[in-house]
């Protein structure tokens, strides 16, 4: 497709496990083990997974914080897994990140002005006045009062700090922002605020988001396309409606059934359904993973819906 902003092709991130007397590499932790997907311009792409599924590692590899073991990340037609290519394409300006824990991602000894201006100083040559105007503008965008530029991170609440993090990410006019669990440390009403800001910014500046989360409700609200990750691989990829209405992989079914629903009338039915799927998952689990416990390669089952089906099911159907 024409307007894809980034393509991830068979990305792998393996961490070596060293042991023994010589501290040799004896094995690898396959945190990300061959995943492929692509994000279109200006869309929010959801990446869902439980803890340990490799979703944050994927995000880090895309930003370039984590080195990819193999595979390609194609941006503007070039593979940016090499640092030299990243520099040439100004990749680190175009791709920014929002972190989960706003307290540890903001330097406690810097004023907000310096925190937000840091990426600007890296990539642009502005005078002090221009820089200040730009910071003010950014604070305006995320709805923060103008006197906050002289304050320190600890003077703000969690939601405000997360908004500062967003302002910093937006500072360089990025094309893609990787948001790694941006709201999971926030209260419900504050989360609503942050999510709204993210949506507004996206519409205003046509930024694509890779939204990494374990909260399926939030993903449902934010994204149109999503991928579900398990054991370092993707189990199901597709549009929101397809996956929520017609989940095919047993892991997806289990994940969807486990979301608490605000539907008190039918909660017993929902709980029974959840337990039935859980039993099914325990019973048939091995059919859906190969003998090493890896997820099978993705197969297209419908337009814009790919599922990691086991071999027997590919021709025979369910």
């Amino acid at each position: 497709m024409a307007n894809e902003i980034i393509q991830i092709k068979d990305l792998k991130v393996h961490y070596p496990v060293r042991s023994g007397f010589w501290n040799r590499i004896t094995d690898y932790v396959r945190a990300v083990d061959g995943i492929s997907f692509s994000i279109k311009e200006g869309e929010t792409y959801g990446l869902i997974g439980e803890s340990g599924s490799g979703k944050s590692t994927t995000g880090k590899a895309i930003v370039g914080v984590e080195k990819a073991t193999s595979g390609q990340i194609i941006y503007k037609g070039q593979d940016i897994t090499k640092a030299s290519v990243r520099r040439k394409l100004n990749y680190n300006k175009d791709v920014q990140m929002i972190f989960q824990d706003s307290m540890s991602s903001l330097n406690p000894r810097k004023r907000i002005e310096d925190i937000i201006a840091e990426p600007i100083r890296n990539f642009e040559n502005l005078t002090t006045d221009q820089e200040r105007d730009r910071v003010q503008e950014l604070l305006d965008i995320v709805g923060m009062p103008s006197d906050s530029i002289y304050k320190f991170p600890h003077e703000f609440s969690g939601g405000q700090r997360q908004r500062i993090g967003i302002a910093r990410a937006v500072a360089t006019n990025p094309k893609l922002i990787v948001a790694d669990e941006p709201t999971s440390a926030l209260d419900l009403s504050v989360q609503a605020q942050v999510l709204n800001f993210m949506k507004h910014i996206q519409q205003q500046y046509n930024i694509a988001f890779l939204f990494i989360s374990h909260d399926l409700g939030v993903i449902k609200h934010m994204s149109k396309n999503l991928a579900i990750m398990h054991r370092g691989r993707l189990v199901e990829v597709g549009s929101l409606e397809e996956i929520y209405k017609n989940p095919m992989h047993i892991y997806t079914k289990r994940l969807l059934a486990a979301i608490p629903q605000v539907d008190v009338e039918n909660r017993d039915a929902h709980a029974n359904e959840r337990r039935r799927i859980e039993r099914e998952f325990q019973k048939n689990q091995k059919d859906w993973y190969d003998k090493d416990g890896r997820v099978y390669p993705l197969q297209e089952v419908a337009p814009n819906h790919l599922v990691a089906l086991p071999k027997e099911q590919i021709d025979g159907g369910e």
Partner: protein, 332 residues
Amino acid sequence: MDNHQDILLDVENLHTGYRLQGKFYDAVDGVDFTLKRNEVLAIVGESGCGKSTIASSIVGLYDRKNTRVTGDIKYKNLNLVSLTDGLFDQIRGNDIGMIFQDPMSSLNPLMKVGDQVAESLLYHTKMNKGQRRARVIELFKEVGMPKPETMYDMYPHELSGGLRQRVVIAMAVACKPEIIIADEPTTALDVTIQAQILDLLKEIQKESESGIILITHDLGVVAETADEVAVMYAGQIVEKADVKTLFSHPLHPYTRSLLNSMPQSDADDEDLHVIQGTVPSLKNMPREGDRFAARIPWIPASEHEKVPVMHEVEPNHFVRCTCWKNFHFQND
């Protein structure tokens, strides 16, 4: 059903204040509720509303010097507010079990998990070492841990988050307490594990006929597990009802706003509802009038009560203040 025998815990006019720069500020400001046998009472609210303070007041886990607790917490014929530390030691773990949010920090990293669970049996029962071990293994089976004999000799870091939380639950229920206080028991866990842990808690409750106080900020968890719900804002309960009523027709503006700000799929492209302003900090909490009034400034002051009290709107449905009667969202 509704006789006095079934009331396990009766909290009346509980005030818990923390000392900040020499002055006491009430984090919990006049809370009343009862916990019945076979009931899951959920206390919901955002961070800073005082829900965890209630838990620590009940089990007496607070700094006696810098905390002031007044009011009544009646358990059997005791008032837990004025209990001495020695007596508390007999009740805590034996009659009241606690489950905390982060299983990693509530377990001792240098001690085998089995021994940690056995510790509470050591304090509260006369079992010998072999009996304790057998009982712990039995408990591990009850909470659904695979290979309980091997698990006994493991250390916390060797277990996954879900298993650790199961150990903590085993610890809490070791002496068959009548009351279990679960403070955000599943917040640190994945959804699939969360579902299992909540199922487990309900099972344990049914078997032991205990009462559970479930403290959480997750409305989904409340809707799935609770029988009764109390919604807290700024140290006070603003609405109290059974789950069905609370979710089908919430009345207090705060409850309604909170439910509205949940990301739900149906309203796809719409903005989520945002509650104006921020939760007041302990020092700046408005002590007079309706505490939620500042967050809904478009509602005229005349709608609020001068001294908001709880009104029983319908049987067993309590709402604080009268402002709900003419409440509407700003853009309606």
